[in-house]
Symmetry: C2
Subunit: 395 residues, 2 copies
């Protein structure tokens, strides 16, 4: 496997220089995969925000969602936009970079520097494409644990994330309970539902239906399944919002016109918005990574690794949990968070649960939800005190 990140031909700018830091592990430290395969050598790319204290006790791992990357804060090098969790990670924010050493790593299978299907297979000198091994959420977390070893960090003060990031949080707490002091799984589930698998399958089929996908070999063939990936993104994007949010934002308002066109133009603002979401996404994301990461989410079923009992995944855990859901999230509805809470309670864990009233849908975890900020700040501050971290300097 190549030790160099292969920038996507379609990406603008010097992506290779923009991934932040990265480490390629020696070949004797292969990433062992749930599939039975391995990634060797493994590369993990990450960004950090804030400063690690002398005791290495203030490390705060942030896990990204399906289409995220290590740019939780700061400015994204491709889009030029703020990091995906700009609302939560930064000086004075709930995940306070004046106080914590925030680490965010690109997941294995991703396309921002960590090992993924775009890597060059040394056996063929061509990108792996679909010969890259299928990975799981647990594989992603294993790679992050290797990164922490590399950084010399034994225990995380906290691990937090929404959606697929929340799946990683749960996996962290289950796989490495002693390494996680506090855990903040947001808008997530301990297993992916049939409906969510179905939506992912639509996205994958849209990508695979694009002849430019070239059976996964588009990088070596010099094509890019832009249209298929855009359709996948459009379908997924609807699931990230609520019906109420779509109605509030767009309703049936027409886009740049006074009357219906009686054509197939984007008459409605919601159509124009979706097309924009699709077309901008393909500039920053790799189609095969989309296949691999959706597959990892679909495969996620934490209880399955513990004899079917989710409570067993957390038995005897000393981690402090705060489980968060949103009333209008129909992709990861509150019932899924409650299942996690029930399992944590049954496993004897320390857990609090908050459901926030919002019409913003699943994406609420990325957006301005003031009540959420106040609550999460409270949870983080209390956990920091319990961990013996110095109180936050008052302004």
């Amino acid at each position: 496997m190549s030790t160099l990140f292969q920038p996507l031909s379609t990406l603008s700018g010097d992506v290779g220089a923009a991934i932040g830091e990265s480490v390629t592990f020696d070949a004797d430290r292969a990433l062992k995969l749930d599939s039975g395969g391995e990634i060797k050598p493994l590369t993990v790319a990450w960004k950090t925000y804030g400063t690690l204290n002398a005791q290495k006790s203030n490390a705060f791992l942030v896990c990204h969602a399906l289409t995220g990357d290590q740019y939780a804060a700061g400015t994204h090098p491709i889009t030029g936009k703020p990091g995906w969790w700009q609302t939560m990670v930064g000086p004075g924010l709930p995940i306070d970079t004046d106080r914590f050493f925030v680490i965010c790593a690109n997941v294995v299978g991703g396309c921002m520097g960590s090992s993924g299907p775009h890597d060059v297979d040394p056996a063929t000198n061509q990108p792996f494409g679909l010969s890259f091994p299928v990975i799981t959420i647990r594989d992603m977390v294993r790679a992050q644990a290797m990164l922490l070893d590399h950084l010399g960090i034994e225990q995380l003060f906290c691990v937090a994330g929404g959606s697929m990031g929340g799946m990683q949080v749960l996996q962290w707490a289950a796989s490495y309970p002693e390494r996680v002091f506090a855990a903040l799984p947001i808008a997530t589930a301990a297993r992916h539902s049939a409906q969510n698998i179905a939506f992912h399958e639509v996205g994958r089929q849209a990508i695979m239906a694009d002849p430019d996908w070239q059976a996964g070999d588009y990088l070596s063939k010099g094509t890019n399944p832009r249209k298929g990936l855009a359709v996948a993104r459009m379908a997924a994007h609807i699931t990230y919002l609520s019906e109420a949010a779509l109605h509030r934002k767009f309703g049936r308002t027409l886009q740049d016109r006074e009357a219906l066109s009686y054509r197939f133009d984007a008459d409605f603002q919601v159509e124009s918005y979706l097309r924009h979401q699709g077309s901008t996404f393909v500039d920053r994301f790799d189609a095969n990574s989309y296949l691999y990461i959706t597959r990892a989410m679909d495969y996620f079923d934490l209880a399955a690794d513990y004899g079917g009992s989710l409570a067993e995944a957390f038995r005897g855990s000393k981690t402090r949990f705060c489980v968060v859901s949103f009333t209008s999230d129909w992709l990861f509805p509150t019932i899924e968070s409650k299942k996690i809470v029930h399992a944590l309670n049954a496993g004897g864990a320390n857990v609090s649960f908050v459901e926030f009233e919002t019409d913003k849908g699943h994406d609420a975890f990325l957006l301005e939800v003031p009540e959420m900020f106040a609550t999460l700040r409270g949870f983080v501050d209390a956990a920091a005190e319990a961990r013996g971290l110095p109180a936050k300097a008052r302004a």
Copy 2:
């Protein structure tokens, strides 16, 4: 416009002979369209079930949904499967063909014999493709009214339909109140929501992304955008079911295997099911018709034709309405039916409303819901008595 239905090259069997009856109107009876255009000559294909009585007072119009056709009952000539409303239309069923003369016409824009984008443009001797005019729900209903004139039926005893069929029911009651004695709009809305427009736009973009779509000219180019249409169908199909139904039917059950494949096969039954839904759909449906009919639904906003007041659409109506919704229908949720009911009440109409408790989602209107059958039978029987139709013969 060709007066002959052009069978899709991809359809098996003698579709031309299978459309049931059809009429092509004289050129001086063009279908005037909301777009300002017209369809000339207009062809309408339909099927009937049961016998028209001497007074022509037992005509029961059934309106089909997006992907339906005139085969509400009987055996579908392409799929060999029962008609789409086999649960509701037939001898002894709520829409009793021993008692009523049931008419079901293929909508304008459709692909089972009525005028649509597959028709041959006499100016070019090629299928219209995207040069076929964009049509609306009101255009569909106008064409049906012309069919009724052709059949010599002045007033319908009842008009019924679910989903887009329900939109036609509402349009019928608004446009031709004196021609509709009773109306049964099921699982529908008086206007299409932003979320529903968004899902339709994903489907259209999936079709248009397929290079075999050929900018709409696939019939003349000898191609067929099967993959794009299949993706469109897959995305739509998810919206027809509820999360609970998907969980009950499939959950995370694997398809024909004991363990995860760690490949991109259809590991999960829900994936296999969706792929099957997509691939069988393209054997019976035309991609351009899918574009036109989804567009018609998106454009539907009944109140817009009445100064923004839905109540005005039904002001003074003597039609007896029964509005039906399902608890788990998230595509046309109960709130949309309630808006219709409020408007009917405000307009002084005679209306009853029933919400059925079911986990079957939007598709419940096509499925076995015993409470629905009993209720709709009661509504139909009472309306028949009010209309002076003879009481049903008892077995």
